[in-house]
């Protein structure tokens, strides 16, 4: 079993009456709600948390791309990947990912991912999402009817740019390039492992099966509702005669660990409420632009991730409901161990994308929950799926061949007549 510690990087300071006062956390959220001074603290806290997860032995550190919203503050996850590449040592950098239809030309993604892979010594997981409708259609203006075609073309170009030995010309419908010649090329050969995050578009399953990519189902409905999607995915894999290898499926799950079940509720309930009622407060009109989801996905009855229906389903739910229905796996280490083991077994999932900073959770709480998980849950689940080979994790350079960042030494500046004060660590966090 592999564990990727995933960060959404929410804005933690939305007002209490946010849901009543504003129609959407995404797309047209008022700009004056964002305070860049608090933002400065947040980014640094969040990077600290990811670095901490590396030190606690998690296999991967996850980041993703979203635009114009307070749900996740990473318009460019590659910047986060770059920051992590220098300050983490062992974990994979799971950039999940770049919405490749949005880049013009899309070789920008091939280049930046290659850079991250080279800087990190081959620790990159390359994620290729289509991106949410809010991000792609409403914020970035992509025509819903053609975004999937554009995605497919961008994918073809990026893979070709990574793998082709010679300079080549690319005559696409959306991108035309006379000379494609990637410098640098990725360290992992032929290219970093590709994971495709999806919210439940059924075409994605075929796409992953066809290319041997890992499919990551990112849902906030939890593992019980997620089973329908996982079953659909495995059905497609079985039909194509693929090995039902748990490592070819990733699943995002909210997990919160405390010393006891009661303590978990007391500590985390308000922050989960913040997540579900503020971070996911997306105006229905932005949830699903006409043509964004294909007709077959709509007909399949799979629920859109956000919007009115998703919100109605959550309406009036208490902590107990969230826990009972599997949206959240929370409680003492034993409770979490048992439920999470059961959840991963029921989904046949080998890559857990664990969400431990949710909504307004402050740093010390994130640290506590993460540490408890790493010490008292993770070791017990490690051995799951030991009979399977994980073909979807990066293959970094051996430790002995990897470059290490030089130690930071501000004293050098003093010798030039300047003094640089680093603030003590505990005063840096946003409270």
């Amino acid at each position: 079993m592999k564990f990727t510690w995933f960060h959404l990087m929410p804005y933690r300071f939305l007002p209490d009456d946010f849901k009543e006062k504003y129609r959407s956390v995404w797309v047209d959220i008022p700009r004056d709600l964002y305070d860049p001074k608090l933002g400065h603290r947040l980014y640094n806290d969040y990077l600290d948390q990811l670095e901490f997860a590396d030190q606690m032995g998690f296999d991967g550190l996850g980041v993703n791309e979203h635009h114009q919203n307070a749900y996740g503050l990473m318009p460019s996850p590659n910047l986060m990947g770059a920051a992590m590449a220098r300050r983490t040592r062992n974990a994979s950098l799971v950039v999940l990912g770049n919405s490749i239809a949005l880049y013009n030309p899309p070789i920008r993604v091939a280049e930046e991912f290659a850079m991250l892979d080279v800087i990190s010594g081959g620790r990159l997981v390359a994620g290729f999402p289509v991106g949410t409708s809010m991000d792609t259609n409403f914020c970035y203006g992509e025509v819903p009817a053609t975004i999937r075609e554009k995605y497919n073309e961008a994918h073809e170009l990026i893979i070709k740019a990574w793998t082709e030995k010679e300079v080549f010309a690319f005559n696409g419908k959306f991108t035309k390039l006379r000379y494609v010649n990637l410098w640098p090329k990725p360290l992992q050969q032929p290219h970093p492992p590709v994971w495709v995050p999806g919210g439940g578009s059924i075409e994605t399953w075929d796409f992953c099966a066809e290319h041997d990519y890992q499919y990551s189902f990112l849902s906030y409905f939890g593992y019980i509702a997620g089973k329908k999607v996982a079953d659909g995915y495995w059905k497609v894999m079985a039909k194509r005669g693929k090995e039902l290898n748990p490592y070819s499926l990733g699943f995002a799950q909210v997990v919160a660990v405390a010393n006891t079940d009661e303590e978990a509720e007391r500590l985390y309930a308000p922050h989960m409420d913040y997540f579900y009622n503020r971070c996911l407060h997306v105006y229905n009109g932005f949830a699903d632009a006409p043509g964004y989801r294909t007709q077959s996905t709509i007909r399949s009855g799979l629920l859109a991730q956000v919007g009115r229906e998703a919100a109605l389903r959550r309406e009036g739910m208490t902590w107990k409901d969230f826990v009972d229905q599997g949206y959240i796996i929370a409680g003492s280490p034993k409770t979490v161990r048992d439920r999470l083991t059961h959840a991963m077994k029921s989904l046949n999932c080998g890559h857990l994308m664990i969400l431990q900073q949710m909504g307004s959770m402050p740093p010390e709480m994130v640290r506590g929950s993460t540490e408890l998980f790493a010490r008292e849950v993770m070791p017990h689940m490690r051995g799951m799926w030991s009979g399977f080979q994980d073909k979807w994790s990066p293959s970094p350079l051996p430790e002995s061949e990897r470059a290490m960042p030089a130690p930071i030494n501000f004293k050098r500046a003093e010798t030039n007549g300047k003094t640089v004060h680093a603030a003590p660590h505990d005063s840096r966090s946003a409270k």
Binding site: F138, V143, A145, N284, F286, A289, Q295, I298, R299
Partner: protein
Amino acid sequence: MKTSHSIGGGRFAVETYEFGSGEPLIFLHGAVGLTGMDPFLDELGKDFKVIAPHLPGYGDSTGGDLIEDVTDAALFVHQFMDDLGIKSSYLMGHSMGGMLAAETAAHDTSRARKLVLVGPAGFWIDEHPIPDFFAMDLSEMGTCLFHDPKSPLAQLFLAIPDDMNQLADMYVERVKRLSMASKFLWPIPDRGLKKRAWRIAAPTLLLWGESDRLIPPVYAGEFTSRIKNARLTTIKEAGHLLPYEQQAAFCKAVRDFLKG
């Protein structure tokens, strides 16, 4: 009467509504398409041979994948007229259809004998942004589309069927139509008509609902300033869906212009 035409050597099957007889009047619908209950077309059928195709990707019309932008759409209109043996005729378009009719008339200046543009799309004025139709729920649409969103007509338009299967079908069809429309209108409907509108030679009538809150009447100036032989008539107590909301005044204005 509903019929189907095979267009472009079978590339498109085009569901077409035809009414009356006389001089052909081709009508291009707006983003939401025809409802199948479009009484102003029957009414105009008393004086003209009204031919109202569902654009590819709408209703039972096929070939939506072959149309990706306004040029493809305008070429489709040319092909449709060619295959129906119509060299030149009255051409009318509503909203998105007005944009496509104007494009068609600009490409080939002999196509339209006379041009009627009803609350047409095709421009963007920073000072008067067009509300985002694609992000609206039904009640917002009501406010944007009708002079009186509380009228029985508006309520009929905005009704949601009780039957779940019917609702699912309606939803899928709506998504299909708006997905086609997004090729011309998303995210901003300016696709270069401002470069081409000067070529339009046909006498042109702009018809606007006085309380059009989707494409406000101020947009008429973009057309009348570029099209040499254009004039504007606004219709009182009408919103963006003026052919439905003020059918009599609308049909009279069209008739007077085309017959005059």
